[in-house]
């Protein structure tokens, strides 16, 4: 055994090297402040370890990036924790490197002969920011794509070199498959490698800078030995750091779906997330670029001023040598620089947060994003997996998701969809009926109410406000006997049953007798103008046979001026699918189906099992 040991030692010198390491002493008492380099090394090690395991489960491409992260977050046991630890510890690296740099500047330890030590730490900070930026994109969810696209997109504003630089950064004219592959390589290999290299360089430069001390007998010898005193402090520091990281990672509990780091809905290359914001580290810069003084300019706040600041930080060791007599003017300037920058960054970040909290639009976008993120997990479960074309296709074919978007875009110019919920859609100038719960008994009861038919929720803002329907309702139901009231309820039940709403199916079955009576009444009351069950003509008013049923609504949206609907009396409503050729229509047939299914409240919902 000894022979083998000696052979290994003669070839490697490990034991002798360890022995020399143990002789090291620190320049004072063992304390946590001296642990910072070790803590950064430890946090970096955590990032490398968790990063490698993450890389084993990650597939960078438009159709698989989000999907593989989803798989990790929801399917692989413990995958969410791995993600959360990597994410949290990444933030910790930035905080630690920031504290390290701050400490060096405040204590003046950037001065000769430690200039290179300082520059290594400064570069570590910049590389950490680049790691956060590249890592943010990889999840490829709504926010990560939109926020990164904005940040990288600023390159385009640089005169002359902007366009080629952006193409190089995005590996193409747009964000896509190659952007993800390139950012993965940059994040996991290039930047991570640079971080490790800089840590090594810092260690080397620090050793060189400390050499004179080592020769001065007694100066260092007075300090505590590195092993085991300072080492123990370091290790305890690492444990505290690890506890903090795990504490944050487990902060949202261990139960789906909020556990760990939130994963938004998959990125939509055709869309943009309204509440897109960079990670906290960039929030100050974001707030800075939004300041009124920079109106119309991105080059100055994004490149010129931050670039100048980086230059000033690079010059810190030289500025630090300036003295005014005995007054250390340079050092004071450096301290002022870092404190002003820190205060400005914190202030601007807080201002952005406060502004966003108060911004109703922003909060709404966040709420919708959370709903979409929850919805996509439901859709994937329902489908039994993710289609090869990606998870986005599930959201694109989901009435619950697409309905409000289509309604907002095509219908909310005139119609409200308002039922006193936070997700209400208000038209800018309501000039057509409120379509919330359209087809239901509740909606119809309002239409047939003489008090309400000419209100804004029904015909109040339309050409029918003083039309024959309003007159008829007012005449017929204004001074009702109790039995008239019952008749009206029967009509409401019968006509609403024509809609065949799934939500009312049980009610419709239960009230079959009332509905049969109601159908008789409709035939008596309504067929002077409307066609119902073969009686009455088309062309004067909408057909009541199958009123508000899925097919009826699809036909109505396709062409309201069809004789089956309003015919020539159609009041301003556009035909969204007038022709057989979908390419010539405003909406595709599928889009109309999605809209109708959403209006009817008919989409997949998981059965909630009561415990």
């Amino acid at each position: 055994m000894n022979a083998i040991g000696r052979w290994i030692e003669s070839r490697t010198g490990v034991v002798a090297w360890l022995g020399r390491c143990r002789e090291r002493r620190v320049g004072g008492r063992a304390c946590l402040r001296r642990s910072l380099p070790c803590l950064v090394l430890f946090a970096f090690a955590v990032q490398v370890i968790t990063g490698i395991f993450l890389l084993m489960r990650y597939c960078p491409s438009s159709q698989t990036a989000w999907e593989s992260v989803y798989h990790l977050q929801y399917e692989i046991q413990g995958g969410w924790l791995l993600r959360a630890v990597h994410h949290t510890c990444g933030q910790a690296v930035l905080v630690l490197v920031g504290l390290w740099l701050l400490g060096m500047i405040l204590r003046g330890t950037y001065r000769a002969p430690r200039e290179f030590v300082y520059w290594s730490v400064l570069l570590l900070g910049l590389v950490t920011l680049a790691l956060l930026l590249t890592g943010d994109l990889l999840a490829w969810d709504e926010n990560s794509r939109s926020a990164t696209l904005t940040r990288v997109g600023f390159l385009q504003s640089l005169p002359g070199v902007g366009e080629p630089l952006f193409r190089l950064a995005a590996a193409g004219a747009e964000f896509g498959n190659l952007t993800l592959a390139q950012f993965t390589a940059l994040h996991a290999v290039v930047l991570a490698g640079a971080f490790g290299l800089l840590l090594g360089l810092r260690w080397w430069f620090a050793r060189r800078a400390n050499e004179p001390n080592r020769d001065r007998k007694g100066a260092e010898a007075a300090g505590a030995p590195y092993w085991p005193n300072q080492t123990l402090v370091n290790v305890v520091g690492c444990l505290i750091l690890l506890a903090v990281v795990f504490g944050c990672a487990l902060g949202h509990g261990v139960d789906a779906p909020q556990r760990g780091v939130a994963l938004g809905p998959p990125a939509d290359p055709a869309g943009f997330y309204d509440a897109a914001r960079p990670e906290w580290a960039f929030l100050g810069l974001y707030g800075f670029s939004k300041l009124d003084v920079f109106a119309g300019s991105t080059v100055v706040p994004i490149f010129v001023i931050p670039g100048t600041l980086v230059l000033l930080f690079l010059l810190v060791p030289f500025v630090g040598q300036l003295r005014l007599g005995r007054f250390p003017l340079g050092h004071v300037l450096n301290v002022v620089l870092v404190l002003v920058l820190l205060a400005g960054d914190v202030g601007l970040s807080l201002a952005v947060i406060a502004h966003d909290r108060a911004d109703e639009q922003h909060q709404r976008a966040i709420r919708q994003s959370r709903q979409a993120a929850e919805r996509i997990t439901v859709l994937i479960d329902h489908h039994g997996g993710i289609p090869p074309a990606g998870a986005l296709t599930l959201l694109q074919d989901d009435p619950k998701t697409q309905g409000p978007i289509l309604f907002q875009r095509y219908c909310a110019t005139c119609h409200n969809h308002a039922g006193k919920s936070p997700d209400d859609i208000q038209a800018e100038e309501p000039s057509a009926p409120n379509l919330f719960a359209y087809g239901s008994r509740r909606w119809l009861a309002g239409l047939l109410d003489p008090e309400r038919i000419d209100e804004a929720d029904y015909f109040g803002n339309t050409a029918f406000r003083r039309g024959p329907m309003v007159d008829f309702i007012k005449e017929t139901f204004s001074e009702m006997e109790p039995e008239d009231r019952e008749d009206r309820e029967r009509i409401v039940a019968a006509l609403s049953a024509e809609a065949k709403l799934l939500a009312q199916a049980a009610l419709d079955r239960q009230d079959a007798a009332t509905i049969a009576q109601g159908r008789e009444l409709i035939t008596d009351y309504c067929t002077d103008c409307h066609q119902f069950g073969g009686k009455g003509k088309l062309g004067t008013a909408p057909e009541l046979t199958g009123w508000a049923s899925r097919q009826w609504m699809i036909g109505m949206i396709s062409n309201p001026a069809d004789p089956r609907y309003y015919g020539k009396k159609n009041d301003r409503m556009q035909a969204y699918a007038e022709t057989e050729d979908e390419a010539k229509n405003l909406l595709t047939n599928r889009e109309i189906e999605l809209l109708v299914d959403w209006l009817r409240g008919e989409w997949y919902e998981p059965v909630v099992r009561s415990p």
């Binding site: 002493r25 370890i49 968790t50 399917e75 413990g78 085991p228 290790v235 690890l242 489908h383 997996g385």
Partner: protein
């Protein structure tokens, strides 16, 4: 290991660590704690990572499914085997492929209305066995193992550890042939369903 020195005035050897009296015990405690805590700190992220890394061991794929493979009139009446693709849903990690080829089987009319199904996968190394029409038997392209029409090994020193795998679940529904498609572990003498 270097020899420990207990002389506090001689810090050239830092092994003992502490300067106080009773140095060796405090030094020893501190060293042990440093090593143990250090190992614990690194074990945290490693354990979390390993947990996901080992996830393939925890997950088991669902066993085979019944698939409609062919119709009776697609099979030659003389009992010649014919290869058919098996179309079914396939899950690859998160992706669900609907109605895609998941494998192939040899179908053969043994008697009127009676069909034999053999997996095309060679039990030796997983190559796809082919039908040699001239010789009238199956032959594996990789290591030349030969099987008769019933899938039995015909060469004495066959590379294949077992006969071709017959698929037990074959049902005739009207004129349709439905097969319970499964894959089996290769390279062993027993026929074991891959899970």
């Amino acid at each position: 290991m270097q020899n420990a020195s207990s002389d506090p005035k001689k810090p050239a050897c830092g092994c003992c660590g502490a300067e106080s009296s009773g140095p060796s015990r405090r030094g020893f405690l501190a060293k042990t704690a440093a090593v143990v805590f250090g190992a614990v700190a690194l074990a945290g992220p490693v354990a979390v990572g390993l947990f996901s890394f080992l996830s393939p061991l925890r997950r088991t794929k669902q066993a085979g499914t019944f698939c409609r493979v062919a119709t009776l009139d697609a099979l030659p009446a003389d009992g010649t085997p014919r290869k058919f693709p098996v179309i079914a849903d396939r899950t690859d990690a998160w992706t669900l492929y609907k109605n895609v080829p998941v494998g192939s089987v040899f179908l053969r009319l043994v008697a009127p209305g009676q069909v034999q199904a053999l997996s095309v996968i060679c039990p030796h190394a997983g190559c796809f066995v082919g039908f040699d029409a001239a010789a009238g038997d199956f032959v594996c392209p990789c290591h030349a193992a030969r099987f008769d029409l019933d899938g039995r090994r015909t060469d004495k020193d066959s590379k294949s550890p077992r006969d071709m795998d017959a698929l037990a679940g074959v049902e005739i529904r009207g004129t349709e042939i439905w097969v319970h498609y499964e894959k089996f572990r290769t390279g062993i003498a027993e026929k074991v369903v891959q899970s």
